[in-house]
Amino acid sequence: MIAAAALAALAIVCAVGAWRLNSARWTTRAPHTAVVLWQALGVTWGLATTGALLAYAFEPYGKGALLGLRDFLVAAYTGGHGTMPLDLPHVLALIAGMTMFTVLVAVLVGATFQTLRARRRHRMLLALIARDEPGVPGVRVVDHPGAAAYCVPGLRSQVVVSAGTLALLSPDELTAVLAHEAAHARERHDLVLLPFAALCRAMPFSGVVRGAQSSVELLIEMAADDRARRFCSPRRLATALLRFGTAGSVPTPSGALGANSGVMARVERLITPQSALPRRFRISVVGFAVMLSASAPLLWLLPS
């Protein structure tokens, strides 16, 4: 019972933590650190919730969630010898736990395949349509008046800009944008976003999940801004952002964008640099994240 209760408490801690982190102010001062904490909260929440249900379900076996699950699967495979039957509450917990675990894994796998497929199609189209531009070596250009600059991530990621972007930005601003995209590609931010986007699609009703997704999205952009400003003028990056935000050459579908896209927040921290978060604080956040991530697997092993 202790393991199940501890895992349930851990799940609640994660949910409350996510809710608090959504409105935390320090995150914009240390986006990388905040992203690590978000990841820890996400993984731990998933493991703790499913673990609590399974630990409760297998409580009669007295072996904990993981070994209980193994014994149960072995018994189910061999025809149920050597295990005692579970009563109704435990069976319901087992069904709920297994369903949730399966859904979480399926959602992640599904989102990964869908993303890879979308990227392959996108790359194929780029190969047929995009051209090289002597002025910006290594960057693919799509002839379209809209303002777009993005990266197709992968083992060989491609940075793409539209002709509209080349017309919109000054050379310095373009350098800043390309530095920002190179940061996305280099730090594989798509891999960070993937699980949050997947969870958001699986649980669109959850305000906390939606909040987590948009927080991580914005923090990733800020992390890329931070990396880019090492190689370019932060001011040019800011004006590029503002030009992009107001480009509006493509009509925006109603409801597709929220009231706050975070562009202004990014501009403000580029123009008036905030003091970096004290090192001690960052280390304790990362330490907490590591502890959190380790706690759920350990509790899966704890015999009840």
């Binding site: 996108h122 993005y150 990266c151 995209e181 931010h189 798509d190 004006t239 107001t246 597709a256």
Partner: protein, 115 residues
């Protein structure tokens, strides 16, 4: 091979009526390609869904499934994050905003440029 796929698509986008592999081969400038090479590429583009082929006697006639502009539009919709679902397929620099937020950004831009 990518370069050849591209030239062949360019040729087919420029055609108004379906053409045979032999005609495509003739239209590729400055290259002496084996007819089988052209056939292979046409076949692959058909499998990928970029071309549609119809029987014409003993030969196939090929035409593009969509115009160049439809593919450019598809690329841009994804690039601008306007396909509806939030995915992590691409990482974008920033997106255009609308309404009052655009107004705020426009003001900020003017202020920054004046300084």
């Amino acid at each position: 091979m990518g370069e050849l796929e591209r030239s062949i698509m360019d040729i087919l986008w420029a055609q108004n009526s379906p053409v045979t592999a032999r005609e495509v081969g003739r239209l590729i400038e400055g290259r002496d390609l084996a007819p089988t090479t052209v056939m292979t590429v046409l076949d692959r583009l058909t499998r990928k869904g970029f071309l549609i082929r119809t029987r014409d006697g003993r030969a196939w006639r090929y035409q593009s499934a969509g115009t160049r502009d439809t593919y450019v539009a598809e690329l841009m919709l994804e690039a601008l994050g306007m396909t509806g679902d939030r995915d992590a397929a691409l990482t974008r620099f920033a997106q255009a905003v609308s309404g009052s937020e655009a107004e705020i950004l426009r003001k900020a831009l003017t202020e920054l440029e004046e300084e």
